[in-house]
Symmetry: C2
Subunit: 245 residues, 2 copies
């Protein structure tokens, strides 16, 4: 379990869902919002775990990963400060298949299960936002499904890079090619091959354990339509305060 409150604290309002709450609702929740670190690699919950908190990231990225019996896996959704982790609490299942893993360190605020359920039952803005976010999540996993079926590894990689920098709010990410391969469910050597091509074309710069996007526009052109499709639906459904873009 990670320490609480070690990094410079960010406001809960950095999370788009919390920020979109009416002032009264937010004020009522504030005393129960507990700040917590999201250290790299932390497994927030594993398949079938009875989860006790809903997490509202304010920075970093959490991945929803499905595992197979043979040890391979694939990321089916990326969650940043636009969303939340632990939807099974208000959806009623109490647990979900799949692993919630911190893929890029950051921090979050979390809300106790009971309090979340109480708030959700009020039929207020939080319920509305939580359900809208869940619908957006369905869109993301669905698009991932068809993308995995039809698009090349390079296209998928471009999509993944774009989705990641959208959630990191910066162009450089600290991640090994090995980990990207795990998340995309492909071979490490294939990622190496793809990053080399992208690098020699000047779209990205690779270093040990980090990738920097140099030309966002060209990267979008190289990615499949899935990136844009999901982004459009997220923009339609979800609130995007100030630095929306």
């Amino acid at each position: 379990m990670p320490n609480k409150n070690s990094a410079p604290p960010q406001s809960p309002l950095e999370n788009f869902i919390l920020a979109a709450l009416p002032k009264l609702d937010f004020a009522r929740l504030l005393p129960d919002l507990e700040s917590i670190d999201l250290p790299l690699g932390w497994v927030i919950s594993e398949s079938g775990d009875h989860i006790n908190y809903v997490y509202f990231p304010v920075s970093g990225i959490v991945s929803l990963i499905y595992d197979l019996e043979d040890g391979s896996s694939s990321e089916v959704a990326l969650i940043g400060n636009e969303g939340m982790v632990g939807i099974s609490i208000f959806m009623g299942g109490e647990s979900m298949p799949g692993t919630m893993k911190v893929q890029s360190e950051g921090s979050a605020y979390r809300l106790n299960r009971k309090i979340m359920k109480r708030e959700f039952a009020l039929n207020g803005k939080l319920q509305h936002l939580a359900l809208l976010y869940t619908q957006a999540l369905i869109c993301q996993t669905s698009q991932t499904a068809i993308c995995n079926q039809h698009h090349s590894l390079e296209q998928q990689l471009c999509r993944w890079l774009l989705m990641s920098i959208d959630r990191l709010h910066e162009k450089r990410m600290d991640i090994t090619q090995e980990l990207i391969a795990t998340l995309l469910g492909v071979w490490r050597e294939s990622i190496s091959h793809a990053t080399n091509k992208l690098e020699s074309d000047g779209l990205i710069a690779c270093a040990r354990g980090s990738i920097t996007v140099l030309n966002l526009h060209k990267l979008q052109a190289r990615a499949c339509e899935c990136y844009q499709a999901v982004k459009v639906e997220y923009d339609r459904l979800l609130p995007h305060p100030k630095h929306s873009q």
Copy 2:
């Protein structure tokens, strides 16, 4: 728009969600439940359509299909009488990407958008069931995503056949290999190749425009784990009255 009430009418209680409602709730909804045919190929809603009804199938199969710009497509979820079509009504988005298409004819009961929203807001059993079903749907699309990434065409075909007969409640389905290929997002010739192998191994029998499952047990062994994984989660989350399996 299909005709209403032409086939021999089935009870709304054939839909597992409606059947799981408390008697009082069901009685209140009954006058507003409108019987409607689901003819083969009918597109209930297309990407972005503002949908006006929630459909509760009592027979047949509805597919959630995502399309790509190049004309290819993939089915990301199968919906039968265990579920419902039109979740965006209560999730708040009012519309969704993806096409809802009748893949196997049957019939359904539908509920007007306003009435569904009113009932959902009561925080009663219908809300609970609708959200649980939505969570199950997320599981299905997620598993589809990883399945598309990792498993062979034959494994995916077996999974699809099994999921279809589960929803049809019979071993024979009327469908062309061409259509299966479209749904799985693969080549028609590849499906032909796979069905031939399965047929020569005695698992299925193929005829023009129909496939019959002969050996369910062997077919399960040949399918990937994804079929079982989704089934387990559906059984955990959803009600399954009487003829549950």
